[in-house]
Amino acid sequence: MDAEGPPRLTRELVAMRVAQELPPGSVVNLGVGLPTLVGAFMPPDAGILLQAENGILGYGGFSNEAFDPDLINAGGQPVRLNPGASFFDSTASFAMVRGGHIDVAVLGGLQVSERGDLANWSVPERGGGSIGGAMDLATGARQLIVAMEHTTKTGAARIVRKCAYPLTARRCVDLIVTDLAVVEVVAAGLTLREIAPGWTPEAVAALTEAPLTVAADVREIAL
């Protein structure tokens, strides 16, 4: 239990919750960092195809075999292939991304605004950050889930009225899954759908800068 309330979900539990969102048979791209963990929690027979923007469709979990430099995901990690996998070059990969052929992208986040803007690539005061495939994925995926911690290490809200950090894309986020809550982005703003065990909607709202509408059927995150 931290200073601010009951225990928060671990990164693995956030990843498990995200995995529940992936429809059977869907084509999914998992960003680097926390989203990568989602791959470990996908239902085995759901026929979900993982796309890596460096040019793989249909990779599986991480490989424990001898490292093959030519068989990595977009985070540089060695991966296995599932039956039916295919390889292609970067132009074909981003044609797939940009053209709306990825059903769900899961990206990490620094900030999400009340209208679904995402900032996830740069912290200006640290003088850096890189874009990689994030802007194309945020723009091109049919559904975008952001998986992130609800607050910064210093306790500042990451779900904000307006992103202070440089944007990845505007109005792109559909669902936010944090270590405290599941928040849906709808036309009217943000709806609080689920909360971590032991937390109240009020306690979550207190750590959220953007206004949250509490869903009538708000419930505890179930895994």
Partner: protein, 231 residues
């Protein structure tokens, strides 16, 4: 024109001059022409504009920066958000000693494709409303906002493929394609490092990924062990 086979990666770089715009294929460890990169380091070519997906993430490109050979970079990831352990490139970037144009990865690939395919520009929604849009023409069409992105070409492209035939046809293995096939189309001089050179005709026509028309020079090298430790 049939590709010319060179004995060493150093000889294969003959003619590259200071100030060259150099595209380098590869994605982190996959399909990265490490032997050619190290040969470019040994060559000491300076004032390079480096066009590569990543710099300092399991590639050897940061070694070029170590020797201050790179003046300007066009890349999709080159600077970490956190600065726990800086690459030479990052340190120089933060000190303002090297110029960086960060490009979204899909736009990066597509700009190079445009450069090789005779396309004078294209419209993408990627980057609209972000820093990437700065200085670019923005158009509204079909109810969306689009950026006009321009083609990207280079003087030289350094590529890595798995096999080549003597004519210059290339085939890649696994996820080794990434930016190599498209960069092959978008530079005036295209040099490929391969693990094996076979007789013309030994690569089945359906298995050719990069047709011979795009390749000027070949050099056979054992691949260098390259791995990103994730930091």
């Amino acid at each position: 024109m049939t590709a010319t086979v060179y004995r060493t990666p150093d000889e294969a770089l003959d003619g590259i001059v200071d100030g060259a715009r150099v595209m380098v294929g590869g994605f982190v460890s996959a399909g990265t022409p490490s032997n050619l990169i190290l040969a470019l380091k040994r060559r000491g070519t300076r004032d390079i504009t480096l066009i590569a997906n990543n710099i300092g993430f399991g590639d050897k490109l940061d070694e070029l920066c170590e020797g201050r050979q790179v003046t300007r970079a066009i890349a999709t990831f080159a600077v970490r958000a956190s600065s726990a352990r800086e690459s030479h490139f990052e340190a120089q970037y933060r000190r303002g000693e090297v110029e960086l144009e960060l490009v979204p990865q899909g736009t990066f690939a597509e700009r190079i494709r445009a450069g090789g395919a005779g396309i004078g520009g294209f419209l993408t929604r990627t980057g609209a409303g972000t820093q990437v849009a700065a200085g670019k023409e923005t158009v509204t069409w079909a109810g969306e906002e689009w950026l006009l992105e321009r083609p990207l070409r280079a003087d030289v492209a350094l590529l890595k493929a798995h096999r080549a035939d003597r004519l210059g046809n290339l085939s890649y293995r696994l996820a080794g394609q990434n930016f190599n096939p498209v960069m092959a189309t978008a530079a005036d001089l295209v040099i490929a490092e391969v693990e094996e050179i076979v007789e013309t005709g030994a690569i089945a026509p359906e298995a050719v990924d990069t047709p011979a028309v795009y390749i000027d020079r070949l050099v056979r090298c054992d691949p260098l062990e390259v791995r990103w430790d994730g930091r």
